[in-house]
Every structure is written in structure tokens, then in C-alpha cells.
Symmetry: C3
Subunit: 373 residues, 3 copies
């Protein structure tokens, strides 16, 4: 029986297991360090996730995304889908988040992405999984850390591929005194391959009153730069809700107490959230580019913090014809900026070829956009 005189106490000092008689458990998963990775190693990441309408609403609330195909079942049916497909980036975050515990819990930095593709659409009700193979390892000359190169594939419940990506991450070494000198760096293609078959229904004429944009593949020219007009300020609750929704447990994003004792002094925004915000801002000018076909590469040029306002501009790098007559592709470069409007920046680099400090994202990706009919 609980002593109700001591109402607020659940255990007494006497009960409190003291250091002398308790065992510190070794069951805490501290994640993998550089030495724990082997080239060719395969990892099945835990935590399959069934995607719901709740996730979709959350994504809209977090990003303000307005791409029509992902907002309306009615429109999706007109496009030939059974119901609205998931925003490609939402699927990316939910699937990718699973790899943090195994790959990047001890990461110093997410250095880059390459050859990301979205082979099949994902819908509410689907359950996504992720598997990873280690494809490269490079110990840093300092001996304190190394770069791990991985290839991850995401699947739905029918084992259809929904995500394919390569990334490289700088990871702490467990033992900084022993050097292996390993230097096996894989090659990456500069762009993701474009396949003959694209899993998008054959499109009829697009009602621009519904999608909100009147421009199609033919209207864009290489070298064209779109200075998107919106800016979105991100607060701490926004980006931490996003990171937790994606079950991404990288501590730098949500442990402010720990981050206070680091040089940055505060929580770092998940780079994927910056990608999503920039993509959402790019709607104005790219309203009909409703499908991300691939992310060719991406860099988080500078960190983003709570209170920063994200702006973006997009350059059309390449217009790509496809054998299908209803659609074409655009290779785009969307640059995310913090606290600087797109119209206030020309080159993203300083005189030494380094990213300017207001540049937070340099994303090279390929979208599908309908042709005129």
C-alpha cells in the first residue's frame, strides 16, 4: 500500500536502487561507428511504417505544399490513379528515417545524396520498409572519423521498389587511435538514369484551373531561372515535429540540451525538412511539375536553425524528352536560401568557390511535367 502522506513519491530513497547493487545495462543501441561498417554488409532497417492520411495532413501543415495531385482524390482519379498518391518527399522522409539508427546516429555530417529515384507511387495504407548495403568506406586523414557510402532501397508491402538512393555520411570512429587507412570510394553517376517506363498513368489534357499553373514542358527553357516569391519561416516545433513524425532519431535535431554544448549551440534543422520547404516554395512557377522523378544529388550547404526563413529559386538545367508523348522531364536546380530573397542573390558561390552563407540547399533533381495537349 502506498503511503499517502508522501503523496508525490513513487519510490523511497531506500528503494532507490543505488549504484552499489545495480547493473548498468549494455542493451542501449549506441548506433554504428565507422569501424562497424564493412563493404558489402547488408542491413534490414527496423520499423515498417504504414502510411496514413494523418501523415499526409501533417506534411501539408509542415510544408504548406500545394501540389494538386497530392491534395485531391478527385483530381488523382482524373489523372488515372485510384486515389491521390503520396508526395514523393513525404514518402522519402518516412522511408529514409528508418536508416538513421543504423547508419547515421553517430554522423558528424550528412555529406550528400546521389541517384535517388522513386520507381513506384506510394498510397495511404501502404507499408514501407528500407534495406541498405554498404558500398564504400573512406577513413579521414585525421583518423578521427570516416565516410560511409551506402545504397538503400525502400519497398512497399508488395516488395515493389518505391525508393532507391545512395548517400554518404561522415561518421565518428569508436577508436580514434587505430587507423585502417581504408579508402574505397564508389563512383556515382551525376544524374539518375531515366527509364523507358515511368509509373505515371497516361495523362489527358490538364485543367490548369485545377492545378493552379498554366505552364507545361514546352514553356520552359534551359537557363531559365524562377525566383520563387514565397518565404516560409520554420520554428523549432515545426522541424522537430517533422523529424519525429518521420521517426528519424538523429539527436542533433531534437536534443537542445546536448546541442547547447556544441559550437552551433542549438538544434539543427533536419536537411530533409529544408528540401521539403524549398520544394513547397517552388510550387509557384512549377505548379504542373507534380512528380519528382529523381534527385540527382543534393547538398546542405549551410545549417538551418529555428527562426530562419527559407526562400528558393529554381534554374532549369536541362529539358529532357521522353518516348511518351504526354510528358517530358525537366532537370532542375533548386537552391534554398535562408533570410535572403531569391531576387537578392545572383551566384550562390563566393569568390573562392565556396557556398555563400545564406545558401542552405543545392538540389539537383528531375521532375516530370505534362506536355501541352
Amino acid at each position: 500500500m502506498i503511503d499517502l502522506k508522501k503523496l508525490v513519491k513513487v519510490h523511497s530513497k531506500e528503494e532507490d536502487l543505488s549504484a552499489s547493487n545495480k547493473t548498468i545495462s549494455n542493451k542501449i543501441n549506441t548506433g554504428n561507428f565507422f569501424e562497424d561498417f564493412i563493404i558489402g554488409q547488408k542491413i534490414t532497417h527496423p520499423l515498417p511504417r504504414t502510411i496514413t492520411d494523418g501523415d499526409v495532413s501533417f506534411y501539408i501543415a509542415l510544408t504548406g505544399s500545394r501540389f494538386a495531385l497530392n491534395s485531391s482524390d478527385e483530381l488523382a482519379r482524373e489523372f488515372g490513379y485510384e486515389k491521390k498518391p503520396l508526395d514523393d518527399l513525404l514518402m522519402f522522409h518516412l522511408t529514409f528515417g528508418k536508416s538513421v539508427q543504423d547508419i547515421s546516429l553517430n554522423a558528424i555530417a550528412n555529406l550528400g545524396y546521389a541517384q535517388i529515384s522513386f520507381a513506384n507511387p506510394v498510397f495511404v495504407g501502404d507499408t514501407v520498409n528500407l534495406e541498405t548495403e554498404v558500398i564504400g568506406l573512406k577513413e579521414n586523414s585525421s583518423g578521427k572519423s570516416g565516410v560511409v557510402y551506402v545504397h538503400s532501397i525502400g519497398y512497399n508491402q508488395n516488395k515493389q521498389e518505391v525508393l532507391n538512393l545512395k548517400r554518404w555520411v561522415m561518421v565518428h570512429k569508436r577508436d580514434k587511435t587505430v587507423n585502417s587507412g581504408i579508402n574505397e570510394v564508389p563512383s556515382f553517376e551525376k544524374t539518375t538514369e531515366i527509364l523507358e517506363e515511368i509509373q505515371i498513368p497516361t495523362l489527358g489534357p490538364i485543367d490548369t484551373n485545377v492545378t493552379g499553373g498554366k505552364y507545361f514542358w514546352e514553356d520552359y527553357v534551359e537557363g531559365e531561372r524562377l525566383n520563387h516569391s514565397e518565404g516560409i519561416t520554420v520554428d523549432n516545433s515545426d522541424h522537430t515535429l517533422a523529424t519525429k513524425l518521420y521517426q528519424n532519431n538523429a539527436k542533433v535535431h531534437f536534443d537542445d540540451f546536448m546541442m547547447q554544448s556544441t559550437p552551433v549551440g542549438q538544434r539543427l534543422m533536419y536537411g530533409g525538412h529544408v528540401i521539403s520547404i524549398a520544394r513547397s516554395i517552388s510550387f509557384n512557377g512549377l505548379q504542373n511539375a507534380q512528380w519528382i522523378y529523381a534527385i540527382n544529388s543534393g547538398a546542405h550547404a549551410n545549417p538551418t536553425f529555428a527562426g530562419d526563413t527559407i526562400y528558393a529559386f529554381t534554374e532549369v538545367i536541362e529539358k529532357i524528352e521522353h518516348s511518351r508523348s504526354d510528358i517530358g522531364l525537366l532537370r532542375l536546380r533548386t537552391v534554398g536560401l535562408k533570410n535572403m530573397k531569391a531576387t537578392d542573390i545572383d551566384s550562390t558561390f563566393d569568390e573562392n568557390g565556396k557556398y555563400l552563407k545564406n545558401v542552405v540547399l543545392d538540389l539537383d533533381y528531375t521532375v516530370v511535367i505534362p506536355k501541352k495537349q
Copy 2:
């Protein structure tokens, strides 16, 4: 192949399209200015939205709303619905949000609303749309801006009317040197017409243990004032999540960097969020008034900012009989206050007839409430 020595760079300075060889795109939709509107003009707003359970949960989390009918499918079935209908204000925000890009992106102020009605209930799974007609234009004497009067109608996927509203907005002129002198001001009714047929199932006796309130139509008297006891503080993430969820892209709500260079110096809270918070607070005393029949008019008397705590009081302006014997209507005035409790304010006006600075909302609306059985 990516040069992996420069890990964090996606494009080089050389690749970076410089001002000399790139074209600034004209595809950015900068919204309509005063001169772009013509009386009689009809606009189909883009972005049909399929409403989900995710939106409903978000609305409860954002507002703390406790009206029982919108929370329980079981109760809704007892009331004669197939499932719980959407909160009228959530439907309003999701539908209304579509008009911002076309009507109020360049608004200086949302001046008022009138004759808002909610003809048919909306349910999870429905897809909503919005169409607008310009019904009035009045250039301001300054020549810098003008007032645009519009009439918008929202529909569900079966083309049933779910929202009908008039509003007027002060919009920037594109060219402040040319004056048209236009002065076509429509008339508005002071209250929304009450129809013979109300789309609410015939109600049996209400279980007050379930709805949380024991008062019915007969219990209220004209002139009665309810000083609601709750206050809800709104933070930046709350109101910006709300605005983004509604795909309302009015920059003043979520671009803090831009707002820092304006007199207010920070993001403005979406007025609709204040309405929702005030309505949620009004639950205590109006628990059985679960249906908003109409919003007769509304004014955002002063701006609301993050950190403000919203309080509210409600006055019963008029008791309205209906030919149905199971329900009656109450015309109410709910006043939203910031950082001042309802019991601490008497009149909402100063000696000059201006709203006091703590008054943020003056809402005149009509609710349906069951009669005693």
C-alpha cells in the same frame, strides 16, 4: 561523376548559371492587383482538397475544440448522421484558403465578411472546391489601393454547395499613378437569410452527459452575456501550421523575414485561426450549439501575434424561432480578446467608438441549438 573531394558541393562556381547567360522567368504568379479585377469576373480557384481524418485531428490539436458532434462517429449516428460531420470552421478554412492566391495575395487587409452560410454538411472523404465572382470595386481616395468585393461559393465533389460567403479586401494597386475612380460598392444584408430547410437531421432528445452542456434554446435570453473562462495562448508554430494546413499562402502569416521590415515587425496570425480559437473557447456555455448556421459579419479589430492569449465572451443578440420544433437558432456576438479576460472588459469600444486595442475579433453569427424534448 561527382568529384568526391568536394563532398558538399552539387554545382561548381563555373556551372552556376550567372546573370549574363540566364533568363529571369516570368512564370511566377504574383497574384492579382486592384486593376486586375473586373466586376462580374468569375474565378475558379485551383487545388481541390480531399478532407481527411488527419485534417480533423489537426483541427482539434490546433484549437482544442470539444464540440461533441464533431468528435464522435457514435454520437453523430445517434444524431442521424452517417458519421461525424466536419466542424464548420475547419471546412471554411480549407475551402477559403484556396482563394488567397487569386484574391488576397496582395491584400493590405481583410476588411470584413458578410452573409457566410454553410448549406450542407461536409464529411471526411469529401473534396471541396471554390469559385468566386467579383461583385464590387472601390478605389481608395489615396489612389494607392482599392477595395475588392467578392462572392465565393464552395462545392463538394457532388456540386452541392457547402459554403457561401461575401468578403471585401483592401488590395494594392499595381500602378499607383493611374486612377480609375471606380466606386461600385455592393450592398450586404446585415444577417444571413435563414432558410425553411436546414440540413440537420431531425433530432431526438439530447443526452447532456454526452455533449457536456445542459442548456438548450429555451434557456438563453436576449442580452445574456457569457464570459467564457478559458484562455488559449497561440504560438508561432500553431498558427503557421494552421495556415499551411489550409494551404492559405498569404505571406504575412508565415514569412517572418519579410515581416521584420514592416511596421508590425513579425508574422500576423491568420484571422481565421482567431475565429476558431474563440469558437473553441465559447464551448463552455454553448456546448449544445454544435452547428454554425451562418456568419453574418466579422471583423478582425486588431492584429494577433504569437504569444498572445485569446479569451472570449459571447452575447446573445437574438433568439430566432424556426418552423422545425426540434431546433432553434441563436444570433450571437462572440468577441475575441487578447491578453485580457472576458470578465475584465465591459464595452469593446473606447470613447471615440473605436475598438479597444485588446479586442481582436467581433463576430456576428447564428448557431443552431436543440430545443428541450
Copy 3:
């Protein structure tokens, strides 16, 4: 017709009902005070709630919870469920929130919980209710307040019990000058009884690649302490969104203006949110302990505020055999800490036997965890 010269005014000063001709309503429910409770009194709490996928997504976003069973319908089916059951704590919050208006609106403090059990799983689509009986009353010697002891039972739409709990709350007296001297304190069991029948499907072998943890009932030892490695910082929007989602209307959590004039000077975090955060952090080390069988008792040792980072450690108090061969139980003590890592604290008490100021939660609970197969 509205006078459009006064665009932003909905009511005039003349219309404004002044103190002289209006009636202040007595319809505001001010909650129960100590004197309003009678031993044996039964209360049916209003607001049945249909639980949706939106609630589930919100819970993941608010807590970062990664327990696999609650994230994946596919996995739940492998475990023998029809679909993923709700996280026990999410169900707790949604059900418990209903009791605030009647029981703890005028609470000075939630003093403790005891004998909480979760008899049947809850699923998306279920509608939950709560009923309470007053089981004890003890006036404080100061005469200003008293402790109310209640026993609450939550039901689903089929009248199956989903929650059973006892708690005691210190409540203000309405009249501090009249003393009743009542002192009827019930007894509580130190632990919740463990029944022969546990409503969990018979489990086959568990795929640890899916659940993310490789430890089973046999692996844990009494006296073992798990210093969980993660910390989660909670901001104002997070905890107020949580509290509002649960329709918990205790003012201390979301009325900052009111709280500024109290000694704490700011909003208090809902203690249940701290429990959820601590449980989420305990995932690392207890990945397979996916079912909370009971909460034996709990105390909120110190208040938690926005900006605090929560850490946690867990001690294995007792290993409990069950007649079922596929599962066992662990009685655990999870201690929540603010702004102090689990590795930086030994005993949770100071030399006088008082909780240290960084200790925010002392939770004694029992989980079900599979045995090895």
C-alpha cells in the same frame, strides 16, 4: 445593410450591450470544487471520441515513438491483430482528457496515479468514453483545499473496458472558511493485479530486424538499469498541441497570460506528455516491450516547462512469469529527467529523501515482452 464606411466594425458603440442592460450568464461551467464531490458519486464524462489515423500520426510526431507494433499494420497482422493497435498511452491521454472538466479543472496538483490497467486493445475507428466514481476525500489541514480520490473506467463503443485507473488530485475549496474535516482515504495496491488472461494474441517468433531490438524477457535482470541515450526537447507548441489534441482543458497547460501571474510564471507541461516522451525515449533498450500492461503508480516529481530537454533511465524492478509461455512481464521504473542525462544521475533523491530538482517523473509500470522462441 452594413455601413461600409466603417469597414472594420461589426457592431457600433451604441449597439454594444452595456453593463446596464445585459445579464451576466451563469451558464459557464466552472468545474467542481472540493465541496462538490461526494464519496460514491458517479460521473459520466462528456465527449466520446472516435480515434483516427490522424490522432496516431500526431502522437508519433509529438513523441517520436518508434514501437513497431503501433506503426505498422503489416507487422500487427503478423502478431495476430487485424490491424495496428493504438499506443496504450495515446489511448490513455484521449480517454483521460475527458475527466479534466469534471475532476481536475480546479486542481492545484495531480498528486498521483495508481493501478492503471489497459484491459483491451483500442484501434483506429473505436470510440472511447470515461466514467468516474469518487472513492475518497481528505480535506487539507489548511482548510483551503482537499484531496479527491477517484476511480475511472474507460470503455470502447462495445462497452469493453479499455482503461481502469485510480488517481488523486488536490482541488481548491469553494469556501475556505468552512471546514468539514472529512478524511476518507482509500487504500491502493502498490501494483496493479496481473490477470490470468491477457488480451494479446499468441505470439510466434519475433523478427528483431523488424522491431529494432534483440532482447527478450529472459535477457533482462532485476536491478538492471538502462540509461537511455536520447533526449527530446519539448517546445510550447508541442505540449499545447498535445494537450488540445487530447481535449484536456486544464488551463495551466495553455493559458500563458493567466500563468504569468502565478509563481511559476509560465505554462506547465501536461504530465502525461512527459510520460509519453519518457516512454518514447525508453524504446532504446526496451524495443520489444511493446505493450504497457499496467501503470502501478506515477508521480510528477517536478514541473516541466517549454524548452526543457527530457532524458530518462529505466530500472528493472521485477521479472514476472506468466502462465502463457510466449510472454513474460517486467515491472519497470522509468525516471524522467530534465536537462540532465541519465548517465549523470545516480540516486533520484537528495539527502533528505526529496526528489532532486531535475527529476520530473517517477513511473512504476509493468510491460509485456515476448519470450525467446
